[in-house]
């Protein structure tokens, strides 16, 4: 379980996260929802210790993040971090050098699934294909927790469908996934929990099937109530 407890983060005088708390279970897909600029990416960076927090605590399976944690949790940012002149296969070799948990068999499987050619240079890929390679770099790590920042933003519908398909497969099963989006409709059926965020605070945290069952509401219905009600 990932526990985010009362986290505060300031950029200069601006409070970006205002005592934000939520939890994400292993084996579930938790979706952080909110418009641009509410702090979604900052939360992910804070979980990964990529940015310091001013107060509060973040625990992964009850422990604070340390060097060894990066074999257990990974972050797929919204843009690829590999050097553009690298070929896909070189990016994979790079990952294998740095992570014990890199599963090259799975990486090749994913390449086939996405119909990509490993000799292509990253710089020459379309935006959709670059997003897919970026996904593979995270998915081929045998980690317990995956954080994905806006995996669907700015790519075509077929690529979105392909990426969404990953969520229904063994590649995600049994892992804990936190995904951010401002465009919920693509994945409404795929997520387990939703965390609605605005202005650095959690407005509501709920199980999507439970809300459908008990209140007959879709995720978008709840969002409308919370953000506009």
């Amino acid at each position: 379980m990932i526990e985010v407890k009362n986290v505060e983060k300031k950029y200069g005088k601006k409070r970006v996260l205002k005592g934000l708390s939520f939890t994400a279970e292993k084996g579930e897909i938790t979706c952080l929802i909110g418009i641009n600029g509410v702090g979604k990416t900052t939360i992910m960076k804070a979980i990964m210790a990529l940015t310091p927090i001013n107060s509060g605590e973040i625990l992964i399976d009850g422990e604070k993040i340390r060097k060894e944690s990066f074999e257990k949790i990974t972050f797929i940012p919204d843009t690829i971090t590999m050097l553009p002149q690298m070929k896909i296969c070189e990016a994979f070799a790079f990952m294998a050098d740095f992570y014990k948990n890199w599963d090259s068999k799975r990486a090749d499987e994913l390449l086939q699934f996405f119909k990509l050619d490993s000799t292509e240079r990253i710089a020459n890929l379309s935006k959709g294909n670059m997003a897919k390679v970026n996904m593979i770099l995270g998915l081929a790590l045998n980690v317990d927790y995956l954080l994905m920042d806006e995996p669907f933003s700015g790519i075509d519908i077929f690529s979105r469908e392909q990426i969404a398909e990953v969520f229904t497969s063994h590649l995600i099963e049994d892992r804990g996934v936190i995904i951010t989006t401002h465009e919920i409709s693509d994945i409404e059926h795929l997520i387990d929990r939703a965390v609605l965020i605005d202005n650095g605070e959690v407005l509501k945290e709920f199980s999507v099937e439970e809300v459908r069952e008990k209140e007959g509401k879709s995720v978008v219905d709840v969002m409308r109530e919370v953000y506009r009600g």
Binding site: E165, T168, S169, E209, R212, E213, V219, D221
Partner: protein, 129 residues
């Protein structure tokens, strides 16, 4: 197998409904093996947890059964199979009655239109063969 899900009913309930329809239509036969939880999630593009929930519920309702480590199968219980069909028919009729009630037409007139429409549609289906 593709299913169009709505966003307001629990997905697992919609999956069960889909299975019931397939059973009533005879697409699933008694005792027939069904996809594994993982296969189902993949086919229907749903979360594996949701597929698991649907199967658990169907097991409890006696729609499917699992012996030991074998794949799950559609029930062979005639009574259950019959009740699935009846349940679906009654549900559809209730829905129809609900919407026709608000228009306030006599039953005889409605039934006549239903029959006419039905005949015309099955005639069309015949003609297109």
């Amino acid at each position: 197998m593709t299913v169009k899900f709505n966003n307001r009913d629990p997905v697992y309930v919609q999956v069960i409904q889909h299975f019931k329809e397939q059973i009533a239509k005879g697409y699933f036969e008694p005792g027939q093996e069904i996809p594994s939880r993982r296969e189902l999630a993949n086919q229907l593009k749903i979360n594996p947890n949701t597929a698991q929930r649907a199967y658990k519920e169907m097991g409890e309702q006696g729609l499917i059964f699992t012996e030991g480590n074998m794949p799950s199968c559609i029930t062979k219980d005639e009574a259950v199979l019959k009740s699935v069909r009846e349940e679906l028919i009654i549900e559809a009729v209730d829905l129809f009655l609900g919407s026709i009630k608000s228009i306030d037409v006599p039953l005889s007139e409605v039934l006549e239109i239903v029959k006419k429409k039905h005949d015309a549609e099955s005639g069309e289906a015949e003609g297109s063969k």
